[in-house]
Symmetry: D2
């Protein structure tokens, strides 16, 4: 658990821990210089919160490290069960963007009441230095987790989308609201 602000110990008993579940996705991809392919090594989430000088109480747990295109229903069930059992009412799930809406829908239908669940990800891996959107998206997801009312949301492109009013445009990579 990250806690970079030693002086607020008394506050911390009152400060709710935000749960971060890592599932993989572009966000956490690294470059394998032996095979020349992208792969998963370790999550970058801990170092990202440290770099962001985050003083919230954050608990990071890696549930899996997969491309969302390869995520199975069993994988989705693991995410759902963890979100259900967890005490925290504010949850961030890092996730591949291609099936983010799919998992958001599964989470919404699992009837997890009273929790704000934010799915976020990246179009370019965090490890890809100065071009990745991941660090920006994480800051936004963290803010939305603290302020949005209970429900399941996607945080991408600086915005939040309700799970039932969002699609990813596969040609441009942007998320957008459904046409009415």
């Amino acid at each position: 658990m990250l806690n970079l602000q030693p002086k607020t110990v008394n506050n911390l008993t009152m400060m709710e821990t935000i749960q971060v579940y890592v599932t993989g996705g572009t966000f956490d991809k690294d470059y394998n210089f032996i095979t020349g392919e992208l792969y998963f090594k370790d999550t970058h989430l801990k170092q990202m919160f440290e770099r962001g000088r985050c003083t919230l109480s954050i608990d990071i747990k890696t549930l899996m490290m997969v491309d969302s295109l390869e995520m199975t229903d069993d994988d989705r069930d693991i995410i759902i069960q963890n979100c259900k059992r967890n005490r925290s009412k504010k949850i961030i799930v890092t996730h591949g963007t291609d099936r983010m809406v799919h998992t958001a829908t599964a989470l919404a239908k699992a009837n997890i009441v009273d929790k704000t669940i934010i799915l976020t990800g990246a179009m370019i891996p965090y490890a890809f230095g100065n071009s990745s959107d991941g660090f920006f998206n994480l800051g936004a997801a963290l803010a939305f987790a603290q302020t949005l009312s209970p429900g399941v949301y996607i945080a991408m492109n600086g915005r939040y989308f309700k799970w039932d009013n969002v699609r990813k445009d596969m040609k441009t990579g942007f998320f957008e609201e459904l046409k009415s």
Copy 2:
């Protein structure tokens, strides 16, 4: 005005523009390789929103480029007048961290009703590559601007603080709530 999502033109008439006022601060410092000193060249805000693949309607205006320690009451008045006159109800002000609380207080006392004003900044310049917190802070500030009720806030360390319940610990660089 940034708008990276061409397909939502019809939506845009309904999408409120978020106003970003640039005032300088560590956030936008660059390295002058002739003098060996940090200085202000241009703001990085536009490229940051692009890198964040932000599809919100954002208007960026540079009001000044100063260290907050050198910000005068006249400078603060310029910020206040711009926030007052602007039609947008969601405003982000990038600002040096040393006097961020000072300007937040001045904005709060200016009685700007019905607007959500978020001050944010960075402890390490955005141009300082892989160590800067600025990109994360901007994502969070943007999310808070969209979700917090009207008022004046500081967004730093992954959190938001009400203007009258925050101080910067000058020794650690972290923002924290006032002791009750």
Copy 3:
């Protein structure tokens, strides 16, 4: 042709132009955020020499943009013919590492006398920010091109290797001299 030092115009007539041939390889790979795969967009060589504040007379020409594993004998012939015809006596070839020795051998056997030809590349793409070795390798290759006697060399791992005394260890990714 790059020339960042305006004052040495008179010198330039005497300063030999160094020819840089781009052939692709890991060096110039970018991330395609639509497909999630690595691909070739444009070479980064020009911006790399600028960032390196290089004041030599450099001519950059892209011959192809391919993985060295997919390089054909025809591709190799294009590289050889260009090295032969070019007036410059100092040539750098950027190249994928997997078949760098192969192309070095082909160049050596083409009997290009009186030219110093340096092949270099990267184990991690330049676009991968703070982890790539490419910028360091380019600096070394440029220095070796200016100082080594005519012949064909590989510049990797901070060293230079003669074309007939080098192999790439495919397990570690390091280049090494042949065991005697």
Copy 4:
């Protein structure tokens, strides 16, 4: 001592160690987020050689961490004495650019025969991510150290300059040969 290539143990007894002396300069500057000023923390040289995947035998020793404008004659004497006493015949000195020629001259006049001494530095700190020239300069300096005949040289802007035929243009920051 760095040695990233475990298999060449037998070779290493024959491979000459290259000595790197760190003296500070822009090269190794970091950003102090408490004071908002640039300062020296630790040298980045070790991580730079690792990132460059250098398999040479390198010994890094920090002699001092100063701006070259503040370097005293005593400091220069420390550099000279270390270069004299050291067994290695290939030495790299990282150094601030403003007085690099000054120290090169002092080294040349100290009559250190049979050693190739390369001074290098950076116009933008290595910690400044994707804009610094430092990593490129280090690659070039390392190559020049291996190939130039004994003498004192400056490696900047992709080139090498003999100590008695170089000046830094303080307006542009480029090094250039003296006008004849």
